[in-house]
Subunit: 678 residues, 3 copies
């Protein structure tokens, strides 16, 4: 089945190997009753399939697939290479990782294969070849799922050696070029032979100060790139083996929000569609979940699989607060609103043992015997029924945001590798702050990378874009010159792609488009604020970092206004006309009022009318098919709210009513207004 | 000397090898003057006795024992295997442990012999054989003390191998049974050969997230059991060697409150009498010390040795607050009140060097030269005199509590190994909460295990009894059916002995006796409370965890009453009539007022009249000889208090008066009322 | 050039190897324009000089030195042994260190050569021999700088072996003497052969409880002494090689405030002059910086080099707050006021990459291209001009304080190695508290060691002088008997130099001079205070520790006054007449008011008139040449202050005015009043 045909899946991970065979059929019935139409199988079964290096036994999997197919389940078939069998670790110790403290892992856990272990690559390839040969063409298999939740870093000798090969490939086999890129004539770090280069660990060049701080930033950045590439190579190897025997079925793996270890923009290029696992905690702001969805959508600018979520609790969170009635449904629709083309769970049946035994599931411990049917099961069941009734074009409908937020993995790595300017620097928090600035203003956001297509954007916000390579700089120039509205902030444009600071005044290559240079910055101690005066006269608060801006062409929108500081009166926020567009700079971290003013100025510069601010507690998000617009109204709170109808005339697909000017939403209530596109 | 004859010992650890020989006799005089009648010798002298593998030199010990005997000291003779000589560690590196991070210890510290090191077992056995041969029959030796403060875990290859042997023995040599018990078809953990099984460490299957969290809970539980058994095997080996040549003298070792590493209920079976080291901190509640004493008493339901306490300060505590005048005396009598048959100190003479140099002692640094006699010395002296005057039958008199609190080591291990329901889960705190519920109500408590004799109990409280095996379930059924009053709480009855969740609704096998099932739980964020309404109309507060109870037969005693929560109105506390008895369930952690109401309900159900609540700050505890009742009144505060006389007509053994209706107690004051038994 | 001729240097570290050669000359011009007259070169160039074991290439250094000389730069020439080349670590792994966790370092970082590595010593010696041969006699080289910021400890096998050699040398080859000194008959620690002795690590005898706590304190103290001696031996080896070919040029290395790893009093004996790196944080009290300067001055009682400071920000601090206008200048003059004979920076030109890229510099990233000239550059330039105009005799002028504060490295090590009396024990904080007591009272302080010349002192304050050896005791006796005023505190006189407690009552050997003994101490929980009543009736607060003093001859100056504590009424502060002098004892940590009263009593006892208290925010410090007194007035705050003129008639060298009775100082303002000496 091709990606285009892939239906809306409702289901998720099912691990029958954990259960007696005589319970499987009852599970099928109970899942079918919950409108489950898809199962993800074989995620962690390697040791069940392979008792030793020579023996493969697919009999259990054969039975399960046959049974699932009998119940019309669409199967997402995993390759089961996400966890290693014990025999393999004992026989080939190089298959596990060495951590940043130089400790080599023995058998246990999961997601811990060394990506550069020759034995792992060989054994995984053999397994996948067998799996692909056996199940390719099985009509029940609608999607391949390679490994599971890739992530983590390894620092073993095989990785060290592979790193040197990676460097040879990326630096044209020229060690002098590496020395030059890393500026390694620093603390006697000049390398005179390739084998002098070792991974940056706590035993080598990485200071362990709570957070890791490398001596050679350029080397550490390259090691990050290399490790992301190494795991991606694992993915590509497995994908290629499958593709050889199955040319149509989509192949993916499940990502995890914006996790730091992998450059997902590079990964997405190799994936047929993106997929991710969404585990908001009880105190996660809805804007953060929205941002995560938008990032996954943004990786390919295309609908994605919501491959995992939990019906109620995720075992690894510090406090297992339950999801209240309606909360799971609201979260599921939030995913769909942002571009999900599936709603899947981890997992179908709650494990009796193992670290995830308190992770909730469709069939919980309580449901498992058939004595009781729980609230959570019933909510899943109702949701399944509802989803099955949604129009088919929703599944592949697309997002259309005109505001972009730029997300850049190397900047994340680099800015958090830096010692300074402040231990409070946290890239994800910074990005979320500016995402939220737009979200609160009622705007939909496209999360984009440096290589993404920005052509649909009116406004591009690049918070803490620490690394400004020349190509990105040129692209920003073009974007702005052609009428775009660009904004960047403190700690942007600081270094090139090798962590070398741009000389002559921050923000380096971005000075032209912004019409300014910064002379110095002042990191503020925690719990202190600096008054910032807006052009309107309003005073807002700055924190974290204050940059002292010298406009060369830019207009001043706000100034520091604290008489205790010598830089009172200096510009804090500026706007620069550049070509047909405008470029904004924010030199300090503003409070919500300050950000709201900045957002208004961006809209004005972009010639857009002010958006209706997001109603407090309600998110409004849209998807577009060829024929319809779908407007999602999501009450993210546990109290009833009424909001203005943003899509008058649209029919609510859930209530089959056409709301008037106002839409009343119960606690965690959802409306999906279907309108015909003009 | 037999256990029966063992007199009331007053004394403790004396380490003459730390001091010039010419100071020993002065020590004896000073100790005798303090009414010390017992010395614990040879606790850490291995390297003094053995300069190398071939040479034994007992001359120092001979001299010390001879001298001590000359001063009529009753000797508790330790085997000195609690700390390893340096030569042994250098020669046989396997004698020390490998920690959970895979780091193997070199020479140093103490209490760090690998229990499964063949060299350690062999060398310890040879030493103990020599000691036993030499000193068995010495009339001054009244008790053998094996090693010291057993505890700690080892993860070395010898332990790994011994663990596999332990598993073979416990699973009938059947690897499939191990896989089944641990449900190891989980994350590819299926074992196909015994040697694939490795200890759960941070390098294998134990997540290091501040607290340790295993992937396979069943395996981690077994590793705990195995390690406790391994150290117990060390104890048994030494005991057997001594017993071969000395058939009468009691053999023991010193336990440490309820420390987590050893299942003391298993240990107590092998000990002739229990003994423990009591080190309350300046902020330890008196109820906690009481609970610790009751646990040690409860292990064998028999009087115990208070083998160590400090006259004033314990060096390892964060703030070395002194014990105020009277505080040591009060604490000593609290021990006696709860069943101590000795009052012993660590130590007789304060070390001049070493990590314990600031641990106080009977002969302190200040007392050591004879220039000064300190307050603390004088208090010890006065106490010694007083204790010597107490009646002989007090020593072996027994406790008689009708309220039991169930303590279960595997539940402790298992519930804290779980990820979820809350990072605030702390088993000891939970047990103490319910101990204190009874203590505050003026009730005496028997700490019991699952295997203990419950026949003397009217009420059995089993807080957080996470593991409910079938045998315990049956025993609880019988207890309740026969008229007992049983209470258990949230997070009880969750799993079987292999950490496999009971299906069909919590609390698993306890649903019948309780007349209910729980559908789900809601872990509450810290610092939040949930209103709970009692049947009386009183509103109290719940925290930590709220379980949503479905009574099938139980009566509702309290309900959630928070309109923000969808489960408002659901039962929070219930009572179920079962046979001739009653079974209570507490679904959330209640505040003191809530617990007080629960305690009252328990008493009512048990047909007991309400106890007089513990007077604030005063503990009243009783012991019973064949002829007398001894009622201890302990003012645990530093201010004078007056309380109603609970034993009218009794004579205070300390003041030789017969108090009226009220007893006035000075700060830290004590009265021991002797009454004739009816 | 001899030390005597060494001019006032203004400049600092310059690392041209990090930059293209064609930028060097522009740097020289820019530095010369900033009045820079000195460059520190070759600090981290080992790998640039030596590409492998056989090849030395000084061509870059030759060029740089030639260029610098052409610009009249006085060169401080470093030996570049502070960081190891990668080839060396790969070829000879023993050159790096093994940490306290037993982890051996690979290539990376700096300051991490094992001091007892034979390969390191050999290779460093060869390099230095080449450097010395090449550049000795070069007239531009005015000072040799050996290695860089020595510090850190190693626990490798080479160090273990060298430790045993060190012990043999210090204990006359007598293992019994080691056992006796360490009192190792403790926890079976008796050593029967030298090779049983191992370094105290987390894997051997050092408890890892957040802070390190050894079992054998005496052994740990000796290991500290040995490690300080080992690095000092490295320094001496390099120095001797240079001295062989250059008999006159001063040789030094840069110290770091009072860092714990090295006994700087021992080091200073081997250094021609002291030098240090001053990095106050935005919240460092000026009294702490003053103390640090005074310590470095005190090591040799002679002017020192301020070898590093930052023009604005130090990258490794948690919040990179900038230095406000004038702040750098004030800090520079504070250094000079306390005895600096140079003002040097790290560094001349800000690195583009590497962990220090955000460490500010004279030529910053912004200045580097010549497009902009920053505020910070201009402040450095103005300062350079000003400094160049100061009189020549200021450079070698001396301090003259009559109040001494005793600083003792072994006491620092020993008291923080102790478990007890309180986890809040921090030696540096304690010393600073008493330094500040004098500083706040307007007194200048000499920081002295036990071996220092105390003859110029009227008052000697020895806070937390944990170790009281007999020689120091005798010296204190003599000092006091001859009319000196001595003060010591809680936790003084506790142990001898091997960490063996003095028996018979604290403070051991100091009891005589103080006329008292302490019976016991009471560590107070955090956030609690004890009322202390002064003889004047004033009540102040005690915290941290309360010692219960028994005066034998001393007069009581203050008593505890808290009715909740049994020792209310007991003495807290005493004064004892001893010979012609007086000895004070402070038994609890007093608040500022209490310390102020103590300081007044000290002055009265010393027959000194009360000093004018330091004006809030202004420091007044003096230096004396043969002909002049220089009085520095330093406004350490960011607001203008006016103070009484302490040197009427003196001319302010900075404004060239002669102030009246009052001196007005702008924010961070400075005046230097030059007066003729009587």
């Amino acid at each position: 089945m091709s990606l285009k045909e892939l239906p809306f899946l409702f289901g998720g991970d099912y691990n029958p190997e954990q259960w007696p065979e005589d319970t499987w059929e009852a599970d099928m019935k109970k899942l079918q009753a919950a409108h489950v139409n898809s199962l993800t199988l074989n995620v962690f079964s390697w040791s069940v399939i392979q008792a030793d290096e020579e023996t493969y036994d697919f009999s259990l999997l054969d039975k399960v697939i046959k049974l699932a197919a009998r119940y019309d389940m669409q199967i997402v078939l995993a390759t089961s290479t996400g966890a290693l069998p014990a025999w393999m670790v004992n026989k080939y110790p190089d298959v596990t990782r060495t951590d940043i403290n130089g400790r080599h892992a023995g058998f246990g856990m999961r997601h811990n294969a060394c990506p550069n272990s020759p034995h792992f690559r060989q054994l995984a390839s053999k397994l996948v070849a067998q799996l692909a040969a056996r199940y390719a063409g099985n009509p029940a298999v609608v999607c391949w799922h390679v490994s599971n939740e890739y992530g983590g870093l390894c620092y073993c000798d095989n990785c060290a050696s592979a790193f040197r090969d990676w460097l040879k490939a990326h630096y044209n086999n020229d060690l002098a070029a590496v020395n030059a890129a890393w500026k390694s004539n620093y603390w006697s770090h000049t390398f005179h032979a390739w084998d002098e280069i070792v991974p940056p660990t706590h035993l080598t060049d990485m200071i362990d100060a709570g957070t890791d701080k490398p001596v050679l930033g350029g080397a550490a950045l390259d090691y990050r790139r290399f490790q992301s590439d190494s795991l991606l190579a694992n993915f590509k190897v497995e994908k290629a083996i499958i593709r050889k025997v199955d040319q149509t079925t989509p192949i993916t793996t499940n990502l995890m929000a914006a996790q730091k270890d992998l450059d997902y923009f590079q990964w997405a290029k190799e994936m047929d569609l993106t997929a991710w696992d969404n585990y908001p905690s009880f105190d996660t702001p809805s804007s953060e979940t929205a941002m995560d969805h938008d990032l996954i959508y943004g990786l390919k600018q295309a609908p994605f699989m919501l491959m995992e979520q939990t019906p109620s609790q995720a075992n690894w969170q510090p406090y297992l607060a339950l999801k209240a009635p309606g909360e799971l449904r609201m979260q599921s629709y939030q995913a769909v609103a942002h571009g999900a083309r599936t709603v899947q769970f981890f997992q179908m049946k709650q494990s009796r043992n193992g670290v995830e035994k308190f992770h909730s599931a469709v069939i919980s411990h309580t449901d498992a015997t058939g004595e009781h049917e729980t609230r959570v099961y019933k909510e899943v069941q109702a949701l399944g029924k509802e989803l099955a009734g949604l129009p088919a074009d929703l599944r592949t409908s697309r997002r259309a945001a005109r505001v972009g937020v730029l997300f850049d993995y190397p900047s994340w790595w680099g800015v958090e590798y830096s010692t300074g300017p402040s231990k409070q620097m946290a890239y994800m928090q910074q990005v979320h702050t500016y995402y939220q600035m737009a979200y609160d203003a009622g705007l939909e956001v496209a999360m984009v990378g440096k290589d993404s297509d920005w052509s649909g954007l009116d406004i591009l916000i690049a918070p803490v874009m620490y690394i400004a390579d020349q190509a990105t700089t040129d692209k920003i120039h073009a974007f702005t010159r052609n009428g775009g509205t660009f904004l960047t902030t403190y700690m942007s444009g600081i270094v090139d792609e090798h962590d070398n600071v741009w000389l002559g005044g921050y923000p380096g290559t971005l000075r032209d488009v912004l019409g300014l240079w910064n002379e110095e910055w002042d990191a503020r101690p925690p719990k202190t604020t600096v008054a910032v005066k807006l052009a309107t006269g309003q005073t807002v608060a700055g924190t974290f970092l204050c940059e002292i801006i010298h406009p060369t062409a830019a207009k001043v929108l706000a100034t520091y206004a604290d008489d205790q500081l010598f830089y009172t009166g200096a510009p804090a926020v500026t706007e620069n006309a550049f070509g047909k567009g405008h470029a904004f700079y924010v030199g300090t971290q503003l409070d919500k009022a300050g950000l709201s003013a900045v957002m208004a100025a961006l809209l004005a510069a972009a010639g857009l009318k002010p958006a209706t601010p997001q109603p407090e507690g309600v998110e409004i998000t849209r998807r577009y098919s060829e024929t319809h617009q779908y407007t999602f109204l999501l009450n993210t709170t546990n109290r009833p709210l009424t909001v203005a109808n943003p899509a008058l005339g649209g029919e609510d697909l859930l209530t089959h009513t056409t709301p008037e000017k106002e839409v009343a939403l119960p606690a965690f209530g959802v409306a999906i207004l279907q309108s015909t596109r003009a």
